[in-house]
């Protein structure tokens, strides 16, 4: 199967401090890959490298076939990104946001129109299509932000805590969207602090002190660490952390 991310001994040092320490892993096309770890474990640093925003200190990685040292612009064109903090423009309407991001990703007017209509229908946003984003509930915004992040049909989408603070019903609807995107072949790379969401991933990695200490399906990890829930797996690993953030 096609590999959309390959990382080999990927490392980032800030002076003496090794933020990301020689991580090696692959992610397959259409896979939902959970990227877990305690605060300060090195997740954000790793994600910034994978998105082409930060140069590694050593190691290799290819994203959608592009090299993370020399082809960062091509990487940016073939990925989508969404975080809890920055997603869409609050002072633009729903349709304006879609049009803006469609334009940024170089879609034609015709494409934007078609995708915009389909999206608004899928997310049941017709009644608020011309409403400013600032007056929508967080859960709706997050679902829209995700859909906008995959508007240009990227090979892979990076989601940084996309469901933080979202109500329990909408949080599950958000995962329905993730499954739909994965079924279309879009690879999902997601971080979360909800351990029930870790179960929804095809495979999970857990970072501890900059190293990838565990990698496998939820079932494999639970067996490996003789745990009943992913919560327990996380505790066992994160408690072993030496680094004080």
């Amino acid at each position: 199967m096609e590999k959309v991310i390959t990382a080999h001994q990927l490392t980032k040092k800030f002076g003496q401090f090794i933020a990301t320490n020689a991580i090696t892993f692959d992610v397959k096309a259409g896979e939902i890959f959970g990227f877990l770890g305690a605060n300060g474990a090195g997740k954000t640093t790793a994600m910034r490298m994978l998105c082409g925003l930060s140069k590694p200190s050593s190691g290799e990685a290819k994203i959608a076939g592009y090299d993370i040292y020399t082809q960062t612009e091509s990487i940016k064109q073939h990925i989508g990104y969404m975080s809890q903090k920055f997603s869409l423009y609050e002072d633009l309407t729903v349709t304006e946001n879609i049009r803006f991001f469609g334009g940024i990703y170089g879609l034609s007017q015709q494409q934007i129109k078609e995708k915009s209509d389909a999206l608004i229908q899928r997310l049941e946003l017709s009644s608020v299509a011309h409403t400013l984003l600032s007056s929508l509930p967080l859960g709706w915004k997050q679902k829209l932000a995700f859909s906008v992040a995959i508007l240009h049909e990227p090979k892979i989408v990076f989601l940084d805590e996309p469901t933080g603070g979202v109500d329990p019903v909408t949080r599950r609807q958000f995962w329905d969207l993730i499954y739909e995107a994965a079924a279309k072949g879009i690879t999902i790379f997601v971080t979360t602090h909800y351990m029930d969401e870790a179960e929804y991933c095809d495979r999970i990695s857990i970072m501890v002190d900059g190293k990838m200490e565990a990698l496998g399906t939820p079932l494999e990890l639970k067996q490996q660490f003789k745990a009943v829930t992913m919560d327990e797996v996380f505790y066992i690993l994160a408690r072993g952390a030496k680094r004080i953030e």
């Binding site: 770890g37 605060n39 967080l138 909800y194």
Partner: protein, 301 residues
């Protein structure tokens, strides 16, 4: 006496009068660890801002330690500690300077109240000369808690102290709160994480500016209006979709690697429902509802 009282509090914002709080009433007893549980945008921060006298309610009455939040704002500001949702310490002051600053503002010293913050401050001590802006999320949170405690408040208001914090640090934080309880400080804390409700004496579930329920975490779970079953399946998403379409199923949600399926109380034909599912090897058992199950039932009914 109740430490905190909200009596039909209303709040709206802006020219369009967007409703933030709809007649919210609740009482927090002295020494209680009380949780406000709800997603972002539910109105939790508005409640904190009214109780800390930072904004005025548009209707209803509120009091802290028996004093009205509008009339007695000076008394309240001196008597409570507040940790806002957004990190709001001075980023360019060091850990020690921030703590010293807040102590001075309240006319006290770090030494005088060191006992209260000792357990938390030990984590920070190695970094006491570091600017607050250069601390990690978990450390900022601990410093903010120290600064909110340094004047020995009688009531502590914590607005989403654990949001964006990993499960291990979250647990550490709740252990700290439990220890504060033993020092007879009343704590009102908000969180979007349903699993944290279990750490509180009592909780209020809040959604879209309305209180859905107020009770002990056990009481909230017991009040779940349906019979709840856990279903395990190798093909979780197909099973979920088929169950949702079944006429007898009230709701079906994924919970990690299992499904929670609800039926009317006393429903007996579970086997017939399961027979209609085309997936083999389903494992089914009756379970007690949790706070998250109850929250979703309230939200959707």
């Amino acid at each position: 006496m109740s430490a905190v009282v909200l009596d039909h509090i209303q709040k709206w914002y802006g020219k369009e009068k967007t409703i933030a709080l709809k007649e919210v009433s609740l009482e927090v007893e002295e020494g209680e660890l009380f949780g406000l549980i709800g997603p972002d945008g539910a109105g939790k921060s508005s409640i904190f801002r009214i109780l800390t006298t930072l904004i005025l309610p548009d209707g209803g009455k509120a009091s802290v330690l028996g004093k009205d939040v509008v009339d007695a704002y000076k008394f309240i500001r001196e008597s409570v500690g507040y940790m806002p949702g957004r990190f709001s310490l001075y980023q360019d002051l060091t850990v020690e300077e921030n703590l010293h600053f807040f102590a001075t503002v309240f006319g006290t010293t770090i030494e005088e109240n060191y006992d209260l913050i000792k357990d938390i401050y030990v984590f920070l001590e190695p970094f006491k000369h570091r600017p607050a802006g250069k601390l990690s999320g978990g450390m900022k949170q601990k410093l903010a808690l120290c600064c909110a405690l340094i004047h020995q408040p009688k009531v502590l208001f914590l607005d989403e102290p654990t949001t964006g914090v990993d499960p291990v640090s979250r647990k550490e934080f709740w252990d700290m709160l439990k220890r504060l309880k033993s020092k007879n400080i009343t704590v009102l804390v908000s969180t979007p994480y349903m699993d944290e409700a279990g750490m509180c004496d009592r909780v209020a579930l809040i959604h879209q500016g309305k209180i859905l329920a107020i009770d002990s975490p056990e009481g909230i779970s017991k009040a779940y209006p349906f019979d709840l079953y856990e279903v395990k399946s190798d093909k979780i998403s197909v099973t979920l979709n088929q169950l949702r379409k079944h006429i007898s199923v009230k709701s079906c949600y994924s919970f990690g690697d299992v499904l929670h399926v609800s039926f009317e109380k006393g429903f007996t034909a579970i086997n017939e429902v399961l027979d209609a599912i085309t997936i083999d090897h389903l494992e089914v058992k009756k379970i007690e509802a949790g706070v998250e199950d109850s929250f979703m039932a309230y939200m959707t009914n």
